[in-house]
Every structure is written in structure tokens, then in C-alpha cells.
């Protein structure tokens, strides 16, 4: 491990111009991610979590503040930083094998080596038999596996994932979370995953970053501190989950002071509990 954080985000502010006005998506956000760490970012929609991820990946470079990756400023996308999108965004006109090979297009590796890497990553995500298939022939979970393989094939040292399992059914989602965790353990790379699913954030993350909306800020960072493999239903994990949910509820429900006090006084049981986020 090198000294200093692997990903360093310092006082980053990002504003968007909307209809002549300006909207602050991120307001003075700072976050350090250590090498090999798995950080999850959770928050309601509009809290800027995806914006933060895109900035970290270098897909968006119009911000105030500083972002460094292994000590180098991030000023655009890099092959050292992999990216996985919510929709796998496979090119429908290419086979799975060719889609994954896109990640090596600019690697400068000789052909044979590229081929070996593609095969290796097909195997890593369990798609070996589907090399020649077209994206429309795959299920949603398989397509996202291919998306992950494309993000990993160039051996980046950090992988950014933007709600990668958001569109999948519950069973597939659970399975892919486990697979991702195995990949992370095996490849020993840094992962930053954005999600609106608290269970997912707590299950996967070494630390859970909780963001609050309007303007996007980091509200709290909760260390999970539990050994892996984790049991989804274990009391310790549920405890962390509840803590994160609590914190989130406070961020997403800016109840006016007066009203909050009134509710609290009259009937504590009526206090709104917002568990569903996003």
C-alpha cells in the first residue's frame, strides 16, 4: 500500500446550469478512498452521488476543487479507472467477446494477449459459453456481468460502479453482489459503488458514505467494520443498516422545525419513517 489515499477528493463543488440558473449538485465534498478499499455511496436521488462518481472516474471534468488518483490529478478518463454503468451499455452490434475487448482497444497490448485477457474475464464473470452471443440474447444479469468484465478487462486499479444492480430483480441482484465481492477479493482493486439500496451498500462496503441532497453533501461516513464473508441477516449487519437508514431518513426528510416539534409532542408514534430511499 502506498502512503496517502488512493482516490482523494478535496473540496469539490460541481454546479450545473439549468434554465439560466445554477444548480449546486455537489457542495464542498471531500472523500478519501484507501487503496484496495470498497467504498459504497448511498443517498436519495438528487444527492449528487452519481455526479461524484462520474467526477472520480474523470467522465466529468468541470468542477471546483481537487481530485487525485494515486497522486495524479484526474483530468479525464483513464484506462487505470474502470467504469460500470447502470444499464450495461453493451453495443448491440457486437458479440459479448467483442464488447469486452473494447476495454482493451487502447491498451496497446498484442493481439494474443488481448484475446487471453478477454477469455480470462469472461471466465471471471461466468460467461465463458457466451463469447459469441449478442447482447439481446443475454438476460439482464448476464448483460451486467459482461458490463463488469468490460470495466475490468484492462486491469484498472480502481473500478467505479454506478448503480450497477439497480435494474435487476432481487435474486439476480443478490447473486451479482456476491460475485462482485468475490471479484474484489480476488483482484484486490479499489471499488467505489453508488447505490440507492442501503442493504447493498452495507453488505458490500468497508465504509458507507451517506449523502444528502440539495445541495449534494456528505452527511456521514459509517464504517461497517465486519469481517467477510458477511451474513446478510446477521444482527451486527442489521444494526449498521439501521444506523445508515436513520441517518438517511434525517437527510431525505428535512421536516420544518415547527412541524417536527408538533408531531413529536402530540404523538411520537406518528413520526414518519422513511425507509425507502431513491
Amino acid at each position: 500500500m502506498s502512503k496517502g489515499p488512493h482516490i482523494q477528493i478535496r473540496n469539490v463543488t460541481r454546479q450545473f446550469q439549468v434554465n439560466g440558473g445554477s444548480l449546486t449538485a455537489l457542495d464542498d465534498v471531500s472523500l478519501d478512498v484507501a487503496e484496495g478499499e470498497f467504498v459504497t455511496i448511498v443517498g436519495a436521488s438528487g444527492c449528487g452521488k452519481s455526479t461524484l462518481l462520474r467526477l472520480g472516474a474523470g467522465l466529468d471534468t468541470t468542477y471546483k476543487g481537487a481530485i487525485n488518483h494515486a497522486g495524479e490529478p484526474v483530468d479525464g478518463p483513464s484506462l487505470d479507472r474502470g467504469m460500470v454503468f447502470q444499464e450495461p451499455r453493451l453495443f448491440p452490434w457486437l458479440t459479448i467477446e467483442r464488447n469486452i475487448a473494447l476495454g482493451l482497444e487502447n491498451s496497446g497490448l498484442p493481439k494474443g494477449e488481448k484475446k487471453a485477457l478477454v477469455e480470462q474475464h469472461l471466465e471471471l464473470v461466468g460467461l465463458t459459453g457466451f463469447a459469441k452471443a449478442y447482447p439481446h440474447q443475454l438476460s439482464g444479469g448476464m448483460a451486467q456481468r459482461a458490463g463488469i468484465a468490460r470495466g475490468l478487462v484492462n486491469r484498472p486499479n480502481v473500478l467505479f460502479l454506478d448503480e450497477p444492480f439497480g435494474a435487476l430483480d432481487a435474486i439476480t441482484k443478490t447473486r451479482l453482489q456476491d460475485e462482485l465481492q468475490e471479484i474484489w477479493a480476488k483482484e484486490r482493486i479499489t471499488m467505489v459503488l453508488v447505490t440507492h439500496d442501503v442493504d447493498e451498500a452495507v453488505y458490500l462496503g468497508d465504509r458507507v458514505v451517506i449523502m444528502s441532497p440539495r445541495p449534494g453533501r456528505i452527511r456521514e461516513i459509517v464504517p461497517v467494520g465486519l469481517p467477510r464473508p458477511r451474513v446478510r441477516t446477521s444482527a451486527a449487519l442489521v444494526q449498521v443498516r439501521n444506523r445508515v437508514l436513520d441517518s438517511l431518513n434525517n437527510t431525505t426528510q428535512p421536516v420544518p422545525q415547527q412541524a417536527a416539534r408538533n408531531i413529536g409532542e402530540s404523538s411520537p408514534a406518528l413520526r414518519p419513517v422513511i425507509a425507502a430511499v431513491g
Partner: protein
């Protein structure tokens, strides 16, 4: 009709049409032509129209047979096809380049597109008087007119295809640090292929119809010429044979392009 009741009705037994399904699409396509043929036959048999205007199907069939046997119809078809192949190739190539240029560069679009759209509004046949004075009435005229017929749909569809390539795919290319050339080769062009194919099909249809138009006006051979000549001689049987040949060639061209398209774009089957 069957399709409407099938989709709007219940799945119950009353609304299923198994016998129709078994007939298949291949056969249903013949119902209308055969009906028209019968109508034609009855009309000429009963003398609803003078024989000079509407010859009997049997007579037309005999004429067609003779014209095929003598090689006459084949000769004229070959002449017309040759013109279309050359004209279409030129027009499609120019249209493709223009569409790509406008699609990729907003500056080219700003400079060229308004004029191009105005140009596209003038029907192909509307160019003929001016062109006749400029290049005469020889092959050059026909080639230019045919090329123009292909150019407009080709350029417009290519342009739209390129502009409609999903920004999500482009962002993947950005994340993978694609160069301009990689972006074009790996994302933009393959993404625009379906639309370009539509352009090719429309272009070919336009080429074919404008060919017949220009042959009507200035030609001494070709299927369009055959039409004019037949009318002048009052050989309506010849006219009808030529019309059938024109329709048939156009249909075959469109159909084979369609098949090529499905073959090339196997990935599209499920529509991503």
C-alpha cells in the same frame, strides 16, 4: 382484418383464426393481385372498356411471351438496370459522404443543410428541363437524375442515423478513451447502419422511379421508353407488359435489399 380482431379480441376460441394462419403470409400476398387480375379479365371480357384501351389479359400474356422470347423485354430491362446501377452507385456514394459529413460536423450541417433541404424539395423530374440544357439528353442526363434520386434519401437517413446514436454509447467510448477514429469506427457508423440501410432502400426506389420518368422524356431504349413508344403506337399490351416489368424489377430489388439487411444485422433480431 384478421389481424385486428386477433389483437383486439380475447384469446378465446371465437377469435382465433387457425385456418388463416396456416395459409401463411406468402399466399395472402397473392390474394389482391389475383383479384385484380380477375377484375381485369371480367372488364375486358364484358367489354366495359374498349379493347384498344384495355386489352385482355390473354392478349397481354401473349405479347409478354413474345417479347420475352425475342429478348426485347430483357434488352430494355438490361438498359434500364445498367443506368440505375451506375446512377444509384454515384448518388448513394455522394449521399453517404454528405450525410456522414453533416452528421459528424455541426459546422458542415450549418453551412450545407438548409440549402440541401431546399434542394431536396424540388422533385427529381423538376430538374430535367434545366439539366437538358446543361448536359443534353444523353446518358449523362439520366445518370444525373437517377443519382439525385438516390442522393437525397441516402444523405438524410445517414445524417439522422449518425445523430441518433445514443450518447450512452458515446460515453462508454469516452470512458475507454476512444480516439475520434475509434469512435467513428466502433460506435457511430455501426450505430447508424440501420438508418443507412433505410436510406439505401429508399434511394434505390427513388432511383428506379426517377429512371422511368427520365426515360419517358428522353430515351430511345429502356423500360420507360417502351412505355412511351407503346402509347404512341397505341399498343397498350406493350405498355402493360412494360409496367409489369418495371414493378417486378423494383419489387425484386427492394426485397433482396431487405433480405441482405436482415442477414447483415442479425444482432438486431431482438432489438436492444
Amino acid at each position: 382484418m384478421a389481424a385486428i380482431s386477433e389483437t383486439s379480441g380475447h384469446a378465446g376460441p371465437r377469435f382465433s383464426w387457425p385456418s388463416r394462419k396456416r395459409i401463411g403470409i406468402g399466399l395472402t400476398a397473392f390474394i389482391l393481385p389475383v383479384a385484380l387480375l380477375v377484375l381485369w379479365w371480367v372488364a375486358s371480357d364484358r367489354g366495359w372498356l374498349a379493347e384498344q384501351i384495355l386489352p385482355s389479359p390473354v392478349f397481354v400474356y401473349e405479347t409478354a411471351r413474345d417479347m420475352i422470347a425475342s429478348g426485347e423485354i430483357l434488352y430494355h430491362t438490361a438498359v434500364s438496370l445498367r443506368r440505375v446501377v451506375i446512377g444509384f452507385a454515384i448518388g448513394a456514394a455522394l449521399g453517404l459522404s454528405l450525410g456522414v459529413a453533416m452528421g459528424l460536423s455541426e459546422r458542415v450541417e450549418d453551412y450545407v443543410k438548409p440549402l440541401f433541404l431546399a434542394f431536396a424539395q424540388i422533385p427529381t423530374l423538376g430538374w430535367i428541363p434545366l439539366l437538358m440544357l446543361l448536359v443534353g439528353i444523353d446518358e449523362t442526363l439520366k445518370i444525373i437524375v437517377i443519382a439525385k434520386g438516390a442522393l437525397v434519401p441516402m444523405a438524410l437517413n445517414t445524417f439522422t442515423g449518425i445523430r441518433n446514436v445514443s450518447p450512452r454509447y458515446l460515453e462508454v467510448g469516452h470512458a475507454l478513451r476512444f480516439s475520434r477514429w475509434q469512435r467513428l469506427r466502433l460506435i457511430v457508423l455501426p450505430g447508424a447502419v440501420p438508418s443507412i440501410f433505410t436510406g439505401i432502400r429508399y434511394g434505390l426506389t427513388h432511383s428506379w422511379t426517377s429512371l422511368v420518368g427520365v426515360e419517358l422524356l428522353a430515351s430511345s431504349e429502356g423500360l420507360g421508353y417502351l412505355l412511351v413508344w407503346g402509347r404512341q403506337m397505341f399498343w397498350l399490351d406493350t405498355v402493360i407488359v412494360a409496367m409489369i416489368a418495371i414493378g417486378l424489377v423494383g419489387f425484386i430489388m427492394d426485397k433482396s435489399l431487405n433480405n441482405t439487411e436482415t442477414l447483415i444485422q442479425r444482432w438486431k433480431k431482438g432489438e436492444a
